[in-house]
Amino acid sequence: MTESQPVENWILLHPVFREMKSLGVDDSAQIHAAFLAYMDLTEVRHWKEVSCFKCSMLQMILLEAKEKEEETTYTVLPLPLRQSITHKTIRCVLDRGFPMLLCAVASDSTLVYQKISDGLVTPEPPVGPFQDTERRQHRKRRHHPQ
């Protein structure tokens, strides 16, 4: 009995990828990015309730997922790294009411996630403990002649 040959086009045969293809989005690169993000969230990070749907306004595939069962739902926008995005697109995703994860997918399938929220979100403060270091008294400033 011989081992079966690895299927090179396993992504094309995957049921979730086929579901994404059937949603009617023309951008195949964006579909591929969405599928990789889906696999990363489900198989690597084990996020819960991961689903995909088509945003008709943006003509893109978005994902919805939760990191844990009772936590906040995120809307994930997967995009190839070489693509561009507008603030209008971001606002359109945020209008769904959930915080957003922008997932940039590189050509080597590396995924980078950035969290995007509506409004002004104060950053996390620096982590202590802090030491009372002697402050620099003055910095030498040089103003260049115009």
């Binding site: 190839p80 561009s84 995005i85 507008t86 606002r91 940039a104 030498k140």
Partner: protein
């Protein structure tokens, strides 16, 4: 800008695209209206030397000395005289900065320590000296005799400077953030438009790096990654700021007021 803009506009002029603040009173008025930041240059301080001799006894002595030296030494060239006056000015500046640094250090110790630790720290300050290498030096950015355009208190153009610089909505973002109580400085050192502080920029770290973009402006994902990574490294949030068009029908977002500003905060997700 409405009320704040009026205060800023009076007493400041425009020189080669940059706001010109002429006097300390105007600078104070500008700071009180919330516009902070580093001055980009200054007029030569040579004219101010004549007033310093009246401020203290030490300086009175110096002015006396200067009075004796004012008789031109025929063998000294003008360049030598200027150099000597500059070195004397640096010496007086070092003494003043040393006094201010010592007072600043005492205040810092008093506010953070108490009891025997405070007494011990204060006594160790008797040997405090400000090294010359730490002295602030301002080099004048214009030469004497440069004919500057007269400062006009009336703006010739109806548009704020942000619009004239073709940064659509930038002035609107500035107004809105100021209205919310934030202090703003230039964000040039981070490649953004503004740094947004929760209070006086000299007392707080900035919370946001504000990037003013129009809603339809195409942004490269790679650039966004760079900005967010940078902001994360310096413990700030990247803020995308866009002004919305006036009139309610085309409002892009249900939460965005027409004719207002929408903000989106971008942060590193820590999902490695």
């Amino acid at each position: 800008m409405s009320e704040e803009g009026a205060g800023l506009r009076e007493g400041t002029g425009l020189e080669q695209g940059a706001e010109l603040v002429w006097s300390v009173q105007e600078l104070r008025a500008v700071r009180q209206s919330g516009l902070v930041g580093a001055l980009g240059g200054g007029v030569s301080a040579v004219e101010e030397e004549s007033g310093e001799g009246e401020e203290s006894g030490e300086r009175g002595e110096e002015s006396g000395e200067r009075g004796e030296e004012l008789e031109p030494k025929e063998e000294e060239s003008e360049e030598t005289q200027q150099r000597r006056r500059w070195e004397e000015f640096l010496g007086r500046s070092l003494e003043q900065q040393q006094r201010l640094a010592l007072e600043d250090r005492k205040c810092a110790l008093t506010s953070s320590l108490s009891g025997p630790a405070l007494a011990s720290s204060l006594s160790s300050l008797s040997s405090f000296s400000l090294p010359v290498s730490s002295m602030s030096v301002q080099i004048s950015t214009c030469r004497e005799g440069l004919a500057l355009r007269p400062i006009s208190s009336q703006q010739t153009s109806p548009k704020p400077i942000g619009e004239r610089l073709q940064c659509r909505g930038r002035s609107q973002v500035f107004r809105d953030l100021r209205r919310r109580g934030f202090y703003l400085t230039s964000g040039g050192k981070f490649g953004v438009d503004f740094l947004v502080y929760p209070g006086d920029a000299l007392r707080f770290h900035a919370h946001f790096m504000a990037l003013c973009v129009s809603l339809d402006e195409s942004l490269s994902l790679e650039d966004i990654l760079c900005w967010v990574r940078l902001s994360s490294n310096v413990k700030k949030t990247l803020l995308l700021c866009s002004s919305t068009p006036p009139g309610g029908a085309l409002s892009v977002s249900s939460s965005a007021p027409a004719g207002g500003v929408v903000y989106s905060s971008l942060q590193w997700s820590n999902m490695s």
